[in-house]
Symmetry: C2
């Protein structure tokens, strides 16, 4: 049976610990990290050990720590014989050099400690320095997800950029809509059916075909009216920039 240890006590590690624990195909030997984050990770039923206590019995070591902490964690694992992978979207695999058995295990999903996630549908982007370790890493991935893809470091950094638009920037747009509702005592839930349909439409038609609204129609009268409604200077600027961007993108269609 595949054995794994996790390093880190943040959101990614917490969620991976839960997923690894529920899989019958592998054994989670332990979670290593700073003691103070213990309580959250312990909800997975595993004790948090300090990294000094690390013993090297695992087939795979998964480093799920902040991007800028990967290097320092990796230095403590130099003598390890296991396959060592990190989980970061924007960090190249070779941050783990000079380790020979290095790889990446990047879950393309937003993970929060307080949100349950069904890992079965989370795309896992895998990379391995050596062909021999591919099967091992793929077995780890298949034990928790049905969506596996081999992605090299260059592709992964573009995926991570695309994920910023998909998650961070989409969320910021939703926030602006919420603020407008809050300012005018309107319940933000009234926008939820529109939000659901927006996403479904984009997924089915593709976002280019799904684009509607004053900017793509070149309807400067509605755009002007909207700009006059926005008292918040930053939101005004945001509306303007995005409208111009939409107009430029679909200009030739007008």
């Amino acid at each position: 049976m595949l054995s794994v240890v996790l390093i880190g006590t943040g959101n990614v590690s917490t969620k991976l610990a839960q997923a690894f624990s529920s899989s019958e195909d592998l054994q989670l030997l332990g979670i290593y990290g700073k003691k103070e984050r213990k309580s959250e990770v312990l909800s997975s039923g595993h004790e948090v050990l300090e990294i000094g206590e690390f013993d090297d019995q695992a087939d795979i070591i998964v480093i799920a720590v902040k991007d800028d902490a990967i290097s320092s964690v990796q230095k403590e694992l130099q003598s390890s014989k296991a396959l060592v992978v990190h989980t970061a979207g924007s960090i190249p695999m070779d941050v783990l050099l000079p380790m020979k058995r290095r790889g990446v295990f990047y879950p393309l999903q937003t993970l929060s400690a307080d949100r349950d996630v069904d890992f079965k549908s989370v795309p896992l982007c895998l990379e391995s320095a050596s062909a021999e370790d591919r099967e091992l890493l793929e077995n780890l991935a298949r034990s928790i997800s049905e969506s596996i893809r081999w992605v090299d470091s260059s592709e992964r950094k573009h995926l991570h950029l695309a994920a910023v638009f998909t998650n961070n920037f989409v969320n910021h747009m939703i926030r602006q809509a919420e603020k407008i509702c809050e300012e005018h005592d309107l319940p933000k839930e009234i926008l939820h059916p529109l939000l659901d349909e927006t996403v479904n439409k984009a997924k089915i038609l593709g976002a280019a075909k799904a684009q509607t609204g004053p900017a793509v129609r070149g309807d400067s009268s509605v755009i002007e009216k909207h700009l006059q409604l926005i008292a918040d200077k930053a939101q005004h600027e945001l509306y303007k920039t995005i409208s111009v961007s939409i107009q430029n993108e679909y200009e030739s269609q007008l």
Copy 2:
């Protein structure tokens, strides 16, 4: 039984025709509009009549035409005794003056001729100039939807602005992510689970709590790396503006 006529042959009218036709509580007497758009509307089983053929037997006339055509349609209905409502988010009810029996019936949803929509969950924002017509308009709304709200013209224009962020701008963010995938031969479907979770998380936690990513963390090193990856000048500008906007919005939390 409530009787309705629809004016217009665009997306909103087409979808309303389908919804009105499937309701047992009302009778759709006819659809009036330009003959050339006939085929699409006819899919609802109704003949498209020219507006000159208009006969005034309906309880409610629903004007579902382009914003700038509402006034001219309304002029042809001056002698009507029916309640006349328009369906536009950003147009005040009083565009229908001097009609006494005027109102608004605004479906807060993105409607396309080629997408089926379940009207039951579409929020209908209602407004009526006279208290006497409220019941009539509410009956029309309840015959197709379970989500009804009375919203005055001022609230509605803010809702319409919020809808632009929720639909148009969210969709434009999704488009950017799609383009990044296309440029690097990555399947855009790999982002769909992230997109679904983004929306679910924002709905449940609220977008402010759900905000993650380099901008809200103040992680300028990742932001810089992303900006270097974006070859497209317009997309570069968009990434920068939105990141600054996120940073400013959550500045005090850092």
